[in-house]
Symmetry: C2
């Protein structure tokens, strides 16, 4: 929908602050914002029906994290005092999906 | 974001029910849905900070409408008992933007 020439793109380009498109299987919305929305706001407003949210980025958040790094300096700098569920690269391998999922499952379901 | 190969596309393709992307100027979310969301739900949830929502489609809604048609049969069939703000094609011309905007403004601001 964010593609030049599409109706939704035309509406956004014409100045619409929010553009949405809706069907029986998919709903999408694009909003102009004046500041980056926090991860808590995003989860509360858009993921309230979702059990597990995986976020990429949001390095300043205080959420439990999965760190992808192989040096202990990088691991420490990405940790930023947060709970670490798993370290990938130095610990889990990049393809150890089951093991990483197990850590997420343990965190969420206990 | 709905483009093959993009990270957001990969997440949706991997089975995520909701995918979002966030920056300091734009926020976008794509949700899988099990039925088409009504226009009232869309407005309440995603356009609550917006003064005027123009919707294309939603022919079964009961909202005031702008009809684009040139025959009186088409006008009547698109009207479906709703309030009509303007008829474009048979009344306003396609390029009479100011006049059509005037009708919207009158409806919203009185």
């Amino acid at each position: 929908m964010d593609i030049e020439g599409k109706d939704t793109w035309k509406y956004a380009n014409a100045g619409a602050d929010t553009v949405a498109i809706s069907s029986s299987v998919k709903f999408a919305v694009i909003k102009r914002v004046e500041r980056e929305i926090t991860i808590d706001e995003i989860c509360a407003r858009y993921f309230e029906d979702i059990d597990i949210v995986l976020a990429d980025g949001f390095t300043l958040s205080d959420k439990p994290r999965i760190i992808v790094a192989d040096s202990s300096e990088d691991i420490e700098s990405f940790k930023r005092g947060c709970e670490v569920l798993a370290v990938v690269g130095n610990g889990f391998g990049l393809d150890e999906v089951e093991g990483i999922v197990g850590k997420i499952r343990l965190k969420v379901m206990g």
